[in-house]
Every structure is written in structure tokens, then in C-alpha cells.
Amino acid sequence: MTQPLTTLRHRHLLGLATYSPEEIALILSTAREFREVLRRQIPRVPSLRGLTVVNLFFEPSTRTRISFELAEKRLSADTVNFASSGSSVSKGETLKDTARNIEAMKVDIAVIRHRSPGAAYFLTQCIDAVVLNAGDGAHEHPTQALLDLLTISDISPRFDGLNVSIIGDIMHSRVARSNLYSLTKMGVNVTLCGPKTMIPFGISQFGCRVTHRLEEALEGCDVAMALRIQLERQDTSLYPSLREYHNQFGIKPEHLDRYPSLRIMHPGPVNRGVELASEVVDHERAVILDQVTNGVATRMACLYLLAGGQNPASLAEIG
């Protein structure tokens, strides 16, 4: 890694595919300082005072929405929330019109979660605000991958040569995609594991190893990241049954015994007894709640670094 950066080169955070390792390192080091702010008696700083952030959640979300909202409040920004149920979207308004209307109310930053890949990019084309992607379809979920990196860096300060396995439905997972981009950029060896139906064809060209056997994924692995099996996809015949999935790909207590340094991560919400056995979720080597805590600090760092980034002289507008 070369000279450390002091500002991001991007105006928006749509995905990590275009972010450089230096930019990712800047976000992580800023997030570490915000973690210290969150431990103070008054866990609030006035950095974004006067800025308005709108949270556009077109898809249900608890964790990410609350995490973003807390991060915005801890930075003293004014926040407006929008949920698609009970809004004009249920009356048939398009994303573009919703966005334009919100723009007319003068917001500075928009956080968007949408079921369609590219929704965040589309938003940058219709409004002037800085856009943060909080998950768009199966495309990317950059803040989740960044908080995962922060959690991993607490386990091992050096990314180089670390082995991380991502286990589950890679095909439909935006978390897996963002993590794959960012982890490989930081020099981590990534292994993807899951049933053949859940791993996109040709994904190994992104510089990762692919296996369909859980033991192969866990052997020599430092951190195993289990992904949520979307129960609503159960009838799409990606796998025969939840029990069979758990038998073949679920991480169980015997795995923790066999690999004494293995740490377990999960982006949540967890299906106990499917991707992780219940005992594994509660095990001291599962850092799932650390991920949640790191989420607020990471999102504060992203909001802070992107705020006021409307200086075209110093910022290339590369999405």
C-alpha cells in the first residue's frame, strides 16, 4: 500500500468494486476513531450539523436501517426516514419521482436500500445528493463488507495472507459480492463454499477459490462467514431441504472443536439451526455482535468522509 489518503476519491458509495485499497484503509482507520467516540460519555460529535440525510428503505430492514440512523444521529445530522410501506410507493410512484420529490426538499445525503441492482446508481443520475448504497438487489452492500473488514482487522491486524471463507448462497448475496471485492483487494485469500446451485458460474475469475465441501472451506481458515439462507427461496429447489443444507453446509460445534482458532461471522439475521447451529451462534468465537457494533462506527466513517464531497476540483466523479 502506498501513501495513506486523507480524503476519498469517490463522491458516492455505491459499491466497493471501484474503491481502491487506500480508500478502504482510510474508511477503516476513520471508523476506528469513531469507535472511540462511541465509547465516550456523550457519544456524539457535531461534524454533520446542518446536513440532512434521508434514509430510503424500499425493502424491509431492521439492522441496517437502525445502524445508519444511529450513525447519522451520532454525527448530529438531521435525518428523515422513508419506508416503502405506507408511503406513496405503495400508491404506484416510481423511484425516480420519489427521489425527485425528496430532492426538492433539499437533502444532502441519501441512503438507499432497494431490491433492484443498480438502484443506488440510478439515484445518482436523478438527484444531486451524495448517495450511499445500503444494499441494492444482489449487487452490493458496501457498508456491510466494510464493517466485516473492520471486525476481521480486530481478529488479525494484517489482511495479507489471511484466509476467509464465505459459505452459503453466494448467487443471491450482495454481502458476498461486496466482501469478495473488498477482501481480495486487501490481500485476503477468499474461499467461496456452497451447493453448486448457489455459486455463480465463473466466479473464480474474481481471484477466489471455490469449493462445494464445507471441510475444504474450513481447513486452514481464519474466519468463516456464513450467509443467511433466504427461507423465502426454499421452494426454488436450490437445495432439497433446510435439514439437508444444515447437514452439509451448516457450521456445527464439532467444527469449532476441530479448528480451534476459527472465528465465525454472519451478516444477520441468523437462522439458528440452518447456516449456523444454535450453539455456534452463542459461542465466544462467534463475533456476530461485534459486527453489529462495528456497523455504527463504519457507517459514521462513510457518512463523515462522503459529507460535503461536492468539490469537483478535488474529486473525480467516478461514482
Binding site: S29, V37, R40, Y304
Partner: protein, 195 residues
């Protein structure tokens, strides 16, 4: 100012710090030096050493980064890089001496005061600066000043410290108007002389 001048000035300021406070404050060890990122930290560390040697008393030490409290983050006038804040002692009822290298507009000090007050309620806060270059934009003054150097807007005061810059001294630099905001490497001008 060269390295020897700088050291003499710091010794004098260390004595002034001990003079300002009652002997009871000094012995009760609720006196604290807080250095402001980045060069204020090294200056505070040196003062801390000098006071401890002279008075044989324990003085608290802390590091403060006021970046998050600045009023110009949105305008990107200031580098948004957030650095470490490390104040491990109890700020409540403490006597704090805030240490910085150059006092200019006063905006950093304003931000630092907000940051400190968010951590608790100190008894007193005093301001110590190595160079006061004038041109204040806020009604703030330093209590202990190393050297007063009247400057114009086209000039800059550069403090360099061995620990951080691998070089030691204070320079008065002329910055050409086109380089004024983030000019990287203007030619070094004359050293700041004694008045």
C-alpha cells in the same frame, strides 16, 4: 527560531505553567497537559517532561483531535482525516492546559474547547501556544505564548519538530497567492527571529 531557541522557549513556558497554578493544584495532580494533534502533542510531551523534572510531581497527559468538532468539514477547507484522541484521566474538575503549535484564526481552539467540554466539566482550561501569529477570527486569546509573531495573510508559520518532521525550528514562509489553500511545498523563507 532554531532548535536551541525552541528548547529555551519551552523551558520558560514550562515554568510559566507551574507559576500559573496554586501549589495545591500542582501537588493534587489534577493538572493536565493536553496536546492538540499533531504537533501540539509533541510540544505537550516535551513540556510534560520538563514540568515533571522541575517539580517532581505527576501531571496528567492527554491527546486531543478536534477534527470532528470543526465548523468547516462541509466546505472541505480542512483535511477530514480523523486522528487519535486519548484522554485517559478524568476531565471533571481537572485543570487543563491545552497545547498547540500555532494560534491563528482561533477556530481550532474553539473546536478543541467543544471537544473537551463534551468529555466532562474541567475546573479551568488554559491555552498555551508556541507561536501566536495574530489574525484572529474569534475572540480567543492564549494564556501562555512562546513568541508573538505578527503576520499577514500571505504568510504562514511553519513549526517543525524532530519527532514528527525530522527537522527542528520555526519558519515564517511567504505563500504565493495561487498556492494559498493547499499549496504543498512553498520555498522555505526566513526563520522567525527574536523580537
Amino acid at each position: 527560531m532554531d532548535a536551541a531557541d525552541l528548547d529555551r522557549t519551552l523551558s520558560r513556558m514550562a515554568r510559566e505553567v507551574t507559576e500559573v497554578f496554586e501549589p495545591s493544584t500542582l501537588s493534587a495532580s489534577n493538572l493536565a497537559l493536553v496536546g492538540m494533534q499533531t504537533r501540539g502533542v509533541y510540544l505537550a510531551r516535551r513540556l510534560h517532561r520538563k514540568i515533571r523534572e522541575a517539580e517532581n510531581t505527576s501531571v496528567n497527559f492527554g491527546i486531543l483531535d478536534a477534527t470532528l468538532y470543526r465548523d468547516d468539514v462541509r466546505k472541505r477547507l480542512h483535511q477530514p482525516l480523523v486522528r487519535r484522541t486519548e484522554i485517559l484521566f478524568d476531565v471533571n474538575n481537572a485543570h487543563i492546559v491545552l497545547v498547540d503549535d500555532v494560534l491563528f484564526t482561533g477556530r481550532t481552539v474553539r473546536a478543541a474547547l467543544d471537544a473537551l467540554l463534551d468529555l466532562g466539566r474541567p475546573s479551568t482550561i488554559r491555552l498555551l501556544v508556541l507561536v501566536d501569529r495574530g489574525l484572529r477570527e474569534l475572540p480567543l486569546q492564549a494564556d501562555i505564548v512562546g513568541r508573538f509573531v505578527p503576520t499577514t495573510l500571505g504568510e504562514e508559520v511553519r513549526v517543525k519538530l524532530q519527532e514528527y518532521d525530522k527537522e527542528e525550528g520555526v519558519w515564517l514562509v511567504n505563500v504565493p497567492s495561487h498556492k494559498r489553500k493547499n499549496g504543498n511545498n512553498p520555498d522555505f523563507g526566513q526563520r522567525v527571529h527574536k523580537h
